[in-house]
Amino acid sequence: MSKKLDLLHSDYLFLSLGLGIGGGIYLLLAHQPSLQVGVIILTGIFYILWGAIHHAREDEWHIKVLLEYILIAALAVTLWLSFTLRT
């Protein structure tokens, strides 16, 4: 039980780190939209992969779950990207 909890905690820590690094690099590349676009897309891909791996480790993997992560990532990336390209 405690091993499973540790596993989950490490998953969330990894997600926080990944999103934090993506956001940090995005801010560091301020006023360089062409480079920021790459960071946004990579962060979106990271999120989808994290969702797939996390739910597989929790034995909750399902195609609907994967699709949900893909669509949430697509929505977030579209909003983020369209804003960045207007700067």
């Binding site: 997600l15 956001g23 301020a30 779950v65 669509l71 977030a76």
Partner: protein
Amino acid sequence: MLIHFRNLFWHHHHNNHKPKILHLSSLTVLVILVVVFQVALTLFTRLKPGVLGFAAHISADEVVALTNQQRQTQGLPPLQSNSLLTQAAAAKAAYMFAKNFWAHNAPDGTTPWFFFNQIGYNYRYAGENLARDFGDSGSVIGAWMNSSTHRDNILSDHYNEIGVAVVNGILGGQETTLVVQMFGQRTAAVASVPQTAAVAVAETKGSKTQAEMAFSQPQPQKASLSQPVWQWPETMLTQVGGEYSEKFPLLSVFTLTKSLNLGLAILVMIVLAIDGWLVWHRQTVRISGKSFVHLSFLALVVLLIILSGSGQIM
């Protein structure tokens, strides 16, 4: 109507205990709507320039004052405004609009030094900073100061004169505001060949790297046959030290996109927060992703959109 609204945002057995807006079909529609809206906005700005654009409140005098403020904090003497440099900066901005490019060097090979020479400013040292789509003078200076090459120009002791032009126009089919900042130190004697020149070059486009370009030696230049002949509009030559007095667009594309994107993201976040709480509170079992994880990703995007300002530098 009320039932439909409830199903969209609240748990109910009609929506399988998941707000309809979080269903896969609704999320797909939301993504498509955002894309279609952005494409429509881009097409509209191209077909109807001047209605939507970028509303900037930048003053050339303020840019000069803030530049000198930065220099004084480093113990450097302030730069004197020079009308020739201001005209050269205005001409460079007009040239970018006329030739539809955004760079130090034009696609036809015209370098920044052409504008110094053309206006009759014989320099010993010269430099150029560019910015576009910023909302105010402080943001422009802030962005330049955060870039080493642009900061080097602002804080260079090689320069003693400055000229700034703030010009509105249409670039790439979009209403935009360009800021051109030119630095110089004149030669004691009139000469057409510069001894040294430095230009802050953007970190992105272009074949050369920043380091290669930052202290590049420009080719000897004369306003002669080797240079493209281009006459800038007379209005450009008269706007010494001030902004180009063109009408501002009615609505900023940037502000519109930012507001709508933030609004949509926050709406989905609120639904996710309520959904997450209800799932936890009612111990609902369902095949689904984790609401609070989705919420954190969208919160990051909202935070970055709020923290990020507009504008590009080169």
